[in-house]
Symmetry: C2
Subunit: 332 residues, 2 copies
């Protein structure tokens, strides 16, 4: 059973509900029942929403009756195995961190997005949850991303890059330069600093960055792919010989559009938490929501949480000053 | 006369020299004469280079005989009107800041790149010169970018956006949230926070950000455009009907590739300095270098420096604590 938050999506609660229902996965929909087509036996009426205008952590604490918090609590209390939302990513992260908790030894959970780079999907993290990051966070993001691609997507020795403004190890803001040094000295398959263009090169499995840069880069990639695609289609219609060419190519272009669509990969996943938490794209279609629900179910079936935790532990990538082993008993 | 630094370009000094010579603009080429085809009457032999591995400010001070510093000094001493380099942007900025100086009242010069968004070119700044920025810098970048597009590119009331991880005014790291407040209260045609995808929407004339995010975003846009273009070409060749379509569309695709190429706009321009300084793309072809040289000449012809300075002053966007009016006499 997947707990599906129907509030906060660009296309409304009815689209989210339709996506959940067409996923083929059992869902409980938390949202405004009045906006969701009957039958309502899979709906928990929860009209209260958390929006992009709210300060995430405060809103999550102040509105226990919101659809997002109710859906998260369904996971916490064992009534559901994972939570999916197309609402504000910050609020989802805050709710999951508050109610599901982060894994022991993880500094900050990260929002990761699997980018549909044709041929070699690439995981980008953080994609918007942690705007300001310390060196420690970046290093841990690298381990969490690598483990995720290895455990859930079956990639052997994932190639990990650190996003910066140049390939040279000394390029970047101080925390990036420091993270580069630490990752280069560690056991990951670390290729070093990478640039914005490398995200879509198909030569990387994981790209690590802070949530501000990651969000900008993710949307720049999506926006550019869309822009170029629409220019190609316009060019295809603009003159008789090109129009014929465009007609003949239209199926190919449709495939490409599908391959590059976020709807295709189901959105983002929060790494470093004790419960499976999936952020569907805010503008997801019903198909995008269905894929997000299926991604959540796959993570449950693949025991992603346990495998990620085990692999982080095995890699020695957990925070070293754990309360259990620290005499001072300080936590972070 | 344009001073052209031939060192540091990905395609070598001969390509830079060829570009300068085909620009139709009088140039003096500063670089390794042994690598540049004769005749050498337009060459000043200057084999010493500053590379991406050097710390920019230190290298510029330590190597007065480098081609870059010699080219910059030619402008300072009135033997040339502008400097163009395809070498490391940081070194160019450091050399120009040291020898040409920034405009009075400008906190930090910015590297700006005119992105070839079809239909509506968009100026992105900072594209890599200032990795860490204060609120004041971002605000000034917005004014400098707006003035540049108005004065040199003839755009009336340029639409200015502030790059962030969401459109809402409260989204972003603290300096972005503060800059949004200040710009919204000012006289610019400020559209508010914009996301990575908006850079290529054709709905903005200026996008303001820090140099780290700007560099990542710029390269993400370029890399994605290239990736999608190459997929379309591959798709066009992959099956007989599509191949026919692709053949018929090939001229259109070639046009598109040309439109989206950085070679087409000649690279970046440094704003906020007292001399015209153009950064050609590191991987520029001879054509790209030629366009960079022509861009520099146009900025000279259009009196960009004087008009930018005047417009900044008129907009009240200069630093307020000028030595001339401050009793304490502190500068910055």
């Amino acid at each position: 059973m997947i707990a599906l938050d129907a509030n906060g999506a660009d296309n409304g609660a009815a689209t989210v509900a339709a996506g959940g229902r067409e996923s083929g996965v059992p869902v409980t929909i938390f949202g405004p029942q009045a906006e969701i087509p009957a039958p309502h036996d899979d709906v928990v009426d929860a009209p209260v929403a958390i929006t992009n205008d709210d300060e995430p952590a405060r809103a999550v604490r102040a509105r226990p009756d919101s659809s997002l918090v109710q859906a998260t609590k369904a996971v916490k209390e064992g009534r559901a195995q994972a939570v999916v939302s197309a609402g504000p990513t910050g609020a989802l992260m805050a709710s999951a961190t508050l109610h599901l908790k982060r894994m022991k030894g993880v500094h900050r959970p990260a929002a990761a997005v699997l980018l549909p780079v044709p041929g070699s999907p690439t995981l980008l993290l953080d994609s918007g949850a942690n705007l300001d990051v310390r060196t420690d966070y970046l290093v841990q993001f690298a381990y969490m991303g690598s483990v995720f691609m290895e455990a859930v997507h079956g990639v052997a020795r994932p190639r990990v890059g650190l996003l910066s403004n140049g390939h040279e190890p000394k390029k970047g803001v101080p925390q990036v330069v420091e993270a580069n040094e630490r990752l280069a000295a560690g056991p990951l398959n670390f290729v070093g600093n990478v640039e914005g263009g490398d995200i879509v090169s198909g030569e990387l499995d994981v790209v690590v960055t802070d949530g501000f840069t990651g969000n900008v880069a993710l949307k720049a990639v999506e926006g550019t792919a869309k822009m170029v695609g629409s220019i190609v289609r316009r060019a295809a219609r603009s003159s008789p010989p090109a129009a014929l060419g465009g007609l003949l190519m239209s199926r190919k272009l449709g495939q490409l559009r599908h391959e590059l669509s976020q709807d295709n990969v189901g959105g983002g996943i929060m790494l470093g938490l004790r419960g499976v938490t999936v952020a569907a794209h805010g503008s997801a279609s019903a198909t995008g929501i269905a894929n997000a629900v299926r991604l959540a179910q796959r993570a449950v079936d693949e025991r992603m949480i346990e495998r990620t935790e085990a692999a982080l532990r095995d890699a020695g990538a957990l925070r070293t000053s754990e309360p259990a082993i620290s005499l001072a008993g300080t936590d972070d």
